[in-house]
Amino acid sequence: MRVVMSLEIVKPASMGEAIEALGRYGGEARPIAGGTALVLMLRQGLVAPPAVVRLDGVPGISSIAVDDGLIRIGAMATLRQVGESAEVRARLPILAGACGLVGNVRVRNAATLAGCLCEADYASDPPAVLAALDARARLERSGGTRELPVLDLITGFYETALMPGELVTEILVPVPPVDAHQVYLKFSTRSSEDRPCVGVSAVLQLDQDHRIADLRVAVGAATERPLRLLEVEQATLGEPAAGDLFAAIGEGLAEAADTINDVRGSAAYRKRMIAVFVRRALEQAARGESGAWRS
């Protein structure tokens, strides 16, 4: 009897070859970028693909470019690259900051932003930030290309809308207006390197009368997938930016959230923390602060 599986490793030299390779193996092959998630899953036997397709030999897909109100982030751009990029720091301080808070520098040097979305691990910082920024993912497979909002790409608990053989080739992030303030608050309940218990991303633009011109809030790490309440956001437009409004938005999100129980916090505790950190993130943004903070 011979049952030990051998894993084939494919190293394409172009994106075309990569897409083609992923199309083989009945769509069962997995792309691998930094490997910080996939290697652990392979080792634990949680996934057993016939092949992995390495993206590190594909030229030109780790770039970060500014393009007409968008920042385009390539499939192989690492969290470290995104966190250190002058363009991202200037235009999307919330994203640069959040990437800089993931794990530790060894993880950030290997893990990619696109890989982070494909893993769809709830206990992660970047997905909620990208969701609040209305980011989109560009997906390619043999015979087709499409774009999906990040909020729709992650469909559930480690689940995505990716079709078999489909690859995230690029992440497109619209740059908010310069007078919008962006805040990410990462709340972890244990060590500084722990994954978040709750992460809250807020983008807030106020008019001259201190009324809300644009408000976007996404909650991450507390629920199976990032949570936004678009109708609540819409309803706040034109309202005065005040503490009780922010508290009410926090309570609303907490109530709507179907929170997760794990070693980082119970479902009940997470609900309460959503309310606290949504309020705090919006208050900070209303004070004109921008960036990402660990607490």
């Binding site: 030990v4 634990q44 949680l46 390197e193 722990d194 794990d262 070693v263 119970s266």
Partner: protein, 810 residues
Amino acid sequence: MPDSRATQQFHDAELKVAGQIPYALNVDLPRLVHARCVRSPYAHARILNVDASRAQTLEGVVCVLTRDDLSDGSILPYYGAAIKDQPIVAIDKVRHVGDVVAAVVAETPEIAAEAAALVEVEYEELPAVFDALEALQPGAPLVHEQIVDHYEIPPNAGIRPVNGTNLINHMKIRRGDIEAGLAESDLVVEEVYSSPALQHCALEPHVTVADWEDDELTIWSATQMPHFVRQQVADVFRVPVQRVRVLVSTLGGGYGSKTYTRMEPLAAVLARKTGRPVKLLLSRAEEFVTTTKHEARVHIKTGVKRDGTIQAREVEIHYNAGAYADRSGTIARSGGVGAIGPYRVPNVKVDAYAVYTNRPNAVPFRGLAVSQVAWAYECHTDEVARRLGMDPVEFRQRNLLGEGDTFCTGEELHDVHFAPLLEDSAASIGYAEPLPAPSRPERVVGRGLGVIIKHMGSNPATTQLQIRIDADGSIFALSSTVEVGQGSRTVLAREVARALSVPEERVQVPYVDTDATPPDQGTSSSRSTFFNVMAAQVAAEDVRKQLRELAGRVFEVPEGDVQINGDLVSVPGGGAKLPPLPLGEAWRRPAGPSPGEGGLEMHELLKLAGVPSITGTGSFRTEIGLDPDTGQGKASHHWHQAAAGAVVEVDRETGKVYLLRLHLATHAGRVVDRHNAELQNEGCAAFGLSQALFEEISFDGGQVVNPNLSDYNIASMIDFPAAFTTTLAESPDPDAEVHGLGETGLPAVPPAIGNAVRDALGVRIPTIPLVPERVLSAIEGSAPHPNPPPRRGEGITPFPLAGEGGDGGV
């Protein structure tokens, strides 16, 4: 000026940086095969059948070891540090999730893992017990049906297990009259504190390579106790110890997890069965079911006079030992001794229980037994002071043990430094100054302190050290102390050099080889530096005695005329005759000064005498012992002492504790190597803050739900506060006794943080870790929310795992 680049310390650092440490993991031998354990998914079950036939047919599988291989009586199928109650693979039943049921050997680790999943085991599940208190109730499921007269228990084990119960040992202290002491107190405070099971999380997991050649067994292992392993493995095969050789290079951390015997008997039996060298390496997940720290519950009651004098203290401790006794009986004893704390208490009653349960094995853990009780008594002492309306520092100072005071064991204490250590910690966190303002409106600030006493070693212990001097000038320090990362090779080189008055870089420290390095109890209990320093002095004296004899003979003078100054041997007064040399051997005569003038270096004398080598031997032994019914006697050769101080900020909305300041002051006596000593102290602080705030093995019944380093969280560098300081309190006497520092400071840190949180919130939290949810519940006065298991199936890592081998490093 000695060349520091030639020292053992530099050499070790260089090897580490270059990736050249010969860790047991790196041992590679011709025909080496790899082993993998089959582990129980049940906490308690009878084994009905083990079927290895499918696994055996897998290509690349060499053999599968099951209980059938242990049944012919040729080997002793059990081992264990005190009670030989742990089977090499399960025989009649499994006693915890992860218990070893069988083991597969294959050509590659991957095939072994694949085959392990094919071993079919039929179980009949039995009722299980996980809590130490419940396990002592009448009618509780028995983890071992019979202990006494069933398992081998050495007569000097110093424990009293009871058949028909789960009790491994009950330790008692009876001093004064507890009832009267409590009755005459103005205030009695009674509380319960608890601390969870932890994992040691050494960077290097357990790894053993075993190889038989004819009837000789060689074992390379990541062990803190090479001579102990040698004895236990020899016992398994019923062969003289000389047939077993244990080799240990450097460990990637141990913290107690590699004490006593772990995977060595299994690896040796597998090597015997296959006739090939076998490597057995545990995965990170397996580490969590192989060694843990004792979960403990401490019920503590103190009576005080209105003036702040402690009258009486009564403590009951339950240590959850898990499925096998290992060292738990002695751990109860050490914890019992440490449970009163460094205070003068005339009336004492202590009952410490070590109890079998269906949890993974609990074994020694840095801060052995004392960190559990120190968490209790230092929080409790603080609480007593507050309820009396006294300042907690003033209250402690009033009751702390001083020079010549009598400890709860009846022994008189000397070299006592609690008061200055506490003062140092208080000053370092600005205790006399006003509280700093909180950084944000929702936060509150608090300060706390802790002071602890800890034994050195739980049993009488011996270390032997040899100094070998060769005629070519080489000097070897031969000791079986293991380099765990603590710098023992640096210490050995330095202390042997000091004892011989030679430059440090001349002393080489070979790795441990039980065939060549002398017997030693083991590298544990913060005892190695002290014992080796004492033994080195005796060994150096033995060297000098031999040199005097040799010089007397060679120079034809009475031994008494020979002088040894530093490393120079001389015969002042001109009486020395140079020995006649046989023709053709004049080259033996060294150039340079004659013995009558400046003297000869030691090795020059050997050359002159035609002696290739001399070896001086030194032993150091401590004698301790307590009466089992009263706990009176001598519990430790000397006492480790430490104090810590912490300043915290607590977010009242989230319950999160932010450490602003941490100080740790430890009594060091004489410091051998400042750099390593400071690192030991800082390591204790890191472990302490991690245990206070983050660490806990979470269980779902008997199943560990967080057996990886993502779900089980340890402190990182960033978790140290910006204001982090340590003190090594040194004696002004340059020849003062050396105090071990490996564990000393650790137990003081969690209560200092706990007391700071109490100070900030006005609420006492009796359980660590002080995770935000627990703190928030305490703030709101609600019952602490139990940490539920994760909802995600993937978060739970059940055994056995198909192809599992990852460690969840992120």
